[in-house]
């Protein structure tokens, strides 16, 4: 195990001490560190628009007929039913798994089943498969989720609007950046890295965030290159130049330099995950970097991961096979291994601090195209996984009958992505400043019933909440 942050700070250099007093840090207001819960949000954004229609699959009633008619090649069979390929799996409720009233259940003839390669059961002896996480009640699905404000079938507009969180393509910072900027009292004042963007580019959601690191791979995020004799002196000189300039280029450069100082110092040795955990594939590698940061106790609160390969216009794979199924398998194994790694074997596991949210910019058209692929659609789905997640299926199902579809083509959005995110920000990350994070959204959050109950935690009065009588909320528990 490499040095944790507290050990690292214990032996800190003058440069690091100077950092802690830098103007960058003073932008945040810190509270009593004793109240910190150390919780982390991991936001996985699946770029390209995933075909949620073939992940949460209508399994009965008239919607099944619409689905099969629209997808002659791509449809996924039901257990015991006709059709090729591995059948979908039933998502049934239980004591540990909630099926929301708006979701059709198997018994009343509807029901949503799940793609077999996202949730396989074929290796029942392997602990920690995603199916086990579902069975334990630590995995939730939200069908028909997405961007309710605007119907756009543009990848780039949809991603931009979701990530800015402003309801438009205008804005100067991302919603996660505004979360970090307003949640100073819940950020570790000793820590310097509150946000991490895993990947070669920082996503719009973190645009403008203070105290953010970004890297493709935590273990190559260092400056251990060039003549070692002169690396320390070069680093000092670079810091002097960067601190000596006042431009944005310098300020953001200081963030970069701080980030590499911290990460480099903390990742001296090879990381060894928990026994039985194997991180394979780019999504898994990204999650491994997050797991390392969580265990290193660097003060991380938000991590973002981009994972592409979902723009399946062409040959996405018939039935449950092909490239789309393979991509789902990468998601499955990455999530399952991450969970297993952070669950560990002892009490008070790391996974209890971590909430993973999986989302995409839109779903795809109900009707498959002639290339056995699917074109851009609208409503899609979200997944939420974590130690404090209440497993189940949440929200409501808008149906696939002709009158149910948007523009006669696409699944409707019945749960705005901000509803899920707001609940997590409030209950897990203790940030009530939702009006700042998602401008104009709190009223809608309230009028649509508040939290769905996907995660455990306390509801805080969301600020500012203006009730219809014009008085600001004085309640300590707006959603009881």
């Amino acid at each position: 195990m490499a040095t944790t942050r507290r050990k690292f700070i214990g032996g800190c250099s003058a440069a690091i001490a100077a950092m802690a007093g830098s103007s960058r840090i003073s932008k945040l207001t810190f509270g009593d560190p004793g109240s910190l819960n150390g919780n982390v949000l991991v936001n996985i954004f699946l770029r390209g628009g995933w075909d949620s229609m073939n992940i949460l699959i209508p399994a009965g009633g008239a919607d099944r007929g619409e689905y099969e008619a629209a997808r002659p090649s791509l449809q996924i069979a039901l257990p015991g039913g006709a059709g090729a390929g591995d059948p979908a799996l039933a998502l049934t409720g239980s004591a540990s798994r909630t099926i929301a009233p708006g979701i059709p259940t198997v018994n009343n003839g509807g029901g949503l089943f799940v793609h077999p390669r996202l949730m396989n059961t074929f290796d029942v002896n392997r602990p920690g498969e995603l199916w086990d996480i579902w069975t334990q009640g630590n995995l939730a699905f939200v069908p028909a989720a997405g961007l309710s404000q605007v119907l756009t079938r543009s990848h780039f507009d949809a991603q931009e609007i979701i990530e800015l969180g402003t309801g438009t393509t205008s804005g100067s910072d991302g919603w996660l950046a505004r979360h970090l900027s307003t949640n100073g009292s819940n950020l570790d004042p000793e820590a310097l890295i509150h946000g991490a963007a895993i990947g070669s580019q920082e996503p719009t959601s973190l645009l403008g965030a203070p105290g953010t690191a970004g890297f493709g791979d935590i273990n190559t995020f260092n400056l251990q290159e060039g003549y070692s004799t002169w690396r320390p002196a070069m680093r000092t000189a670079l810091r002097n130049v960067i601190e000596g300039g006042g431009t944005l280029n310098h300020l953001s450069g200081l963030d970069s330099l701080d980030a590499v100082d911290i990460i480099e110092s903390a990742t001296g040795e090879d990381y060894t995950p928990e026994p039985g955990v194997t991180y394979t594939g780019s999504l898994a590698d990204s999650l491994e970097s997050v797991a390392q940061m969580v265990k290193l106790d660097l003060g991380l609160q938000v991590a973002t991961i981009d994972y592409g390969g979902w723009d399946t216009h062409n040959g996405q794979g018939d039935n449950s096979g092909g490239g789309f199924g393979s991509t789902l398998e990468w998601v499955r194994t990455a999530l399952a291994n991450f969970y297993l790694d952070l669950n560990g074997s002892g009490s008070d596991p790391y996974i209890d601090k971590v909430t993973v949210v999986v989302q995409s910019e839109f779903g795809r058209r109900l009707i498959e195209n002639n290339d056995r692929g699917t074109d851009h659609g609208y409503g899609n789905m979200m997944m939420v996984m974590g130690g404090k997640v209440n497993g189940g299926v949440y929200g409501s199902w808008p149906g696939l009958q002709p009158g149910d579809l948007v523009d006669n083509n696409d699944l409707q959005v019945t749960t705005d992505y901000r509803k899920v995110m707001t609940e997590i920000l409030v209950r897990r990350l203790c940030n009530p400043n939702i009006e700042t994070v998602f401008p104009n959204y709190p009223a809608e959050y309230q009028s649509t019933g508040g939290p769905l109950g996907i995660v455990e935690g306390n509801d805080l009065p969301i600020t500012p909440v203006i009730f219809q009588d014009g008085f600001e909320s004085g309640s300590t528990n707006a959603w009881g």
Partner: protein, 602 residues
């Protein structure tokens, strides 16, 4: 320690006559969350505008090259004359624009510095035709070639060309089109035919937008990347049609969402309508923007566009004399079909139009629509001026006036050249130094231009693969952006930890990397002229002068001197020998300078 107050004058014979403005960067008020975040840098006005030479090399190319100031000075008697001649030469490097020729063109560019190195690198594939690439590398029936060699050679040449060509603006514009019509190149069959795609874009660098659009739409690399090559009229694949409209032409700024075509307003472009003759609706004119049904209809019109031998389609003759070239598959497009695209719900692509030409109608409407002029010019302004200028959307703004030139010159073979001339003559452009930063590619290339370090970029050359893998970590490796929108040209995307730290690391890697014969690729000790005092002051002044044509602040210089002096008197003569610790320090000084924010300003 005491430092000279003023910047030491030029020590480089090549750079005699350069002016070295000394400025202290004012403290900007912005923070990371400032809504005007890209205005964080001090404007050139606040610190004195740099001379035209600095703009010419940092905006119209990949940075100041050692010796380039002398070439500039030879272009005229004063700065304005040099600037005018430089533009003429860069915008028409072969002086063959015919009726549009610049009066007093200073003569064609001698590009032998680049072409000699290109020849020495021994590339085999870059001058082959599309069909030859298809036949010899994609098909390779004799099994004697490697299908990814063309892509790899093209990428290596991309570095070589950006560093050494004197046709700097042509290369910059080619990069603009590579980003604008982005394709992920590292897959089959794209990798085999890649040099033809890049050559095609380069040929249109300053040309006519409709011609360029037409060639991109018919190129197998594009047909493959956006799935057009399999699309049939029944259940068409919308991938290409959507990005054609959203990214290549009208842009998302003209997307009106899910409206019926008949509900699209027709007021925004009314002033342009008469000039377009019968291209759009005879009475309703030009639609304000596009809706989803326009995408569906465009996809229908384009059905059947594929290429000979397109994988898995049976289209055309895979190994015939035109294998790999554009092919229209009549079986996929019924003769009786008709469409309404950008036409207010009225059929405007008739079944009497030959089916192979129905897609061309769509391309014409898109290329000549004034909304496309705005979108493309907005991107050009962002590329060459600033994000702030690109975001302006008011009458008289640079985006609007440039778009009017784009529209007026829509039939000109030098349409893009005319637009660039307009942009480069604008006040916004002339006052914009510092509003842009170098992306990682530009950082590395400009470092190599300034040092004239030699890296041969040959396939399989010493350290070539290590160079590329290190560069890949910056997230800016040429031709590898996978979504169709191209590498971002927004500084916020690059002023973040991942690309920046990996670019610093790349510079440090370059500082101590050696050839198989154990020579440094960037031997600063031997590059430094013998006349330069081997003191910290002497070495730093020489190299700062060589790297920064715009000069640096005294405090900046002091930090670099401190690094070289390491606590000793900066006038002490240093013992710098092959592979001794002082040479290592000198090498790392270049990596240090390259890593500073000052180096990435442009």
């Amino acid at each position: 320690m005491s430092q000279p107050e003023a910047f030491v004058g030029s020590l480089d014979d090549d750079d005699q006559g350069s002016e070295l403005p000394l400025y202290d960067t004012p403290r900007a008020q912005s923070t990371l969350t400032d809504p005007n975040r890209y205005d964080g840098l001090a404007t050139s006005e606040e610190r004195g505008a740099p001379d035209l030479y600095v703009l010419a090399v940092s905006r119209l190319g990949y940075g100041h090259k050692h010796g380039q100031r002398a070439e500039w000075n030879a272009l005229g008697a004063n700065e304005q004359e040099r600037w005018d001649n430089y533009l003429k030469q860069q915008l028409d490097p072969d002086n063959n624009d015919g009726a549009d020729a610049f009066p007093g063109h200073p003569g064609t560019i001698d590009d032998s510095d680049y072409t000699t190195r290109k020849a020495a690198a021994g590339y085999q594939t870059l001058d082959l035709t599309l069909h030859e690439l298809w036949r010899d590398y994609e098909r390779d029936l004799l099994g004697v070639t490697s299908s990814n060699d063309p892509q790899e050679e093209c990428e290596l040449d991309w570095f070589l060309r950006s560093i050494y060509t004197k046709r700097q603006l042509e290369q910059t514009m080619t990069e603009f089109w590579v980003d604008h019509f982005n394709i992920y190149s590292v897959e089959s069959p794209t990798e085999s035919i890649w040099p033809d795609w890049v050559k095609m874009l380069s040929g249109h660098a300053f040309g006519n937008f409709h011609s360029l659009l037409y060639d991109t739409a018919h190129h197998p690399a594009m047909l493959y990347y956006l799935d057009q090559y399999t699309s049939q009229f029944a259940g068409p694949n919308e991938n290409y049609a959507r990005e054609l409209v959203e990214l290549h032409t009208l842009g998302a700024e003209n997307y009106l969402g899910v409206l019926p075509q008949a509900a699209v307003p027709n007021t925004k472009w009314a002033a342009y309508s008469a000039q377009l003759g019968g291209l759009f609706h005879p009475t309703l004119g030009i639609p304000d923007g596009y809706v989803d049904n326009d995408i569906f209809q465009a996809a229908a019109a384009l059905a059947g566009w594929t290429f000979e031998g397109a994988p898995g389609t049976g289209a055309g003759e895979t190994d015939g004399p035109t294998g790999g070239e554009y092919f229209f598959e009549t079986d996929w497009h019924p003769n009786t079909a008709q469409m309404t695209c950008l036409g207010f719900g009225v059929i405007n692509i008739q079944s009497t139009t030959p089916r192979a030409l129905r897609g061309d109608r769509v391309l014409e409407m898109l290329a000549y629509h004034p909304g496309t002029a705005r979108h493309v010019c907005r991107k050009l302004v962002r590329k060459f001026v600033s994000e702030a200028a690109a975001d302006q959307d008011t009458p008289g703004s640079l985006v609007h006036t440039a778009a009017d030139v784009f529209f007026t010159e829509r039939n000109s073979p030098v349409q893009i050249r005319k637009v660039l001339e307009h942009i480069f003559a604008s006040t916004e452009f002339l006052n914009s130094f510092g509003s842009k930063i170098k992306r990682p590619f530009e950082v590395i290339v400009s470092m190599l231009r300034a040092t004239r370090a030699h890296f041969d970029f040959s396939l399989g050359g010493d350290e070539t693969s290590s160079f590329l893998s290190h560069f890949g970590r910056t997230g800016h490796r040429p031709f590898r952006w996978s979504p169709p929108d191209g590498y971002p040209d927004v500084r916020g995307n690059w002023e973040t930890a991942a690309p920046r730290v990996m670019t610093w690391r790349m510079g440090q890697w370059f500082a101590d990397t050696r050839t198989d014969a154990d020579n440094l690729f960037m031997p600063i000790r031997t590059i430094t002229p013998g006349s330069v005092p081997r003191t910290p002051n002497g070495l730093v002044d020489y190299w700062l002068d060589r790297i920064f044509p715009q000069g640096v602040s005294a405090s900046y210089r002091e930090e670099i001197v401190d690094f070289m002096a390491q606590g000793f008197n900066p006038d002490t003569t240093l013992i710098i020998e092959d592979n001794n610790s002082t040479e290592w320090r000198l090498q790392m000084m270049i990596a240090l300078i390259m890593a500073t924010p000052e180096f990435s300003e442009r």
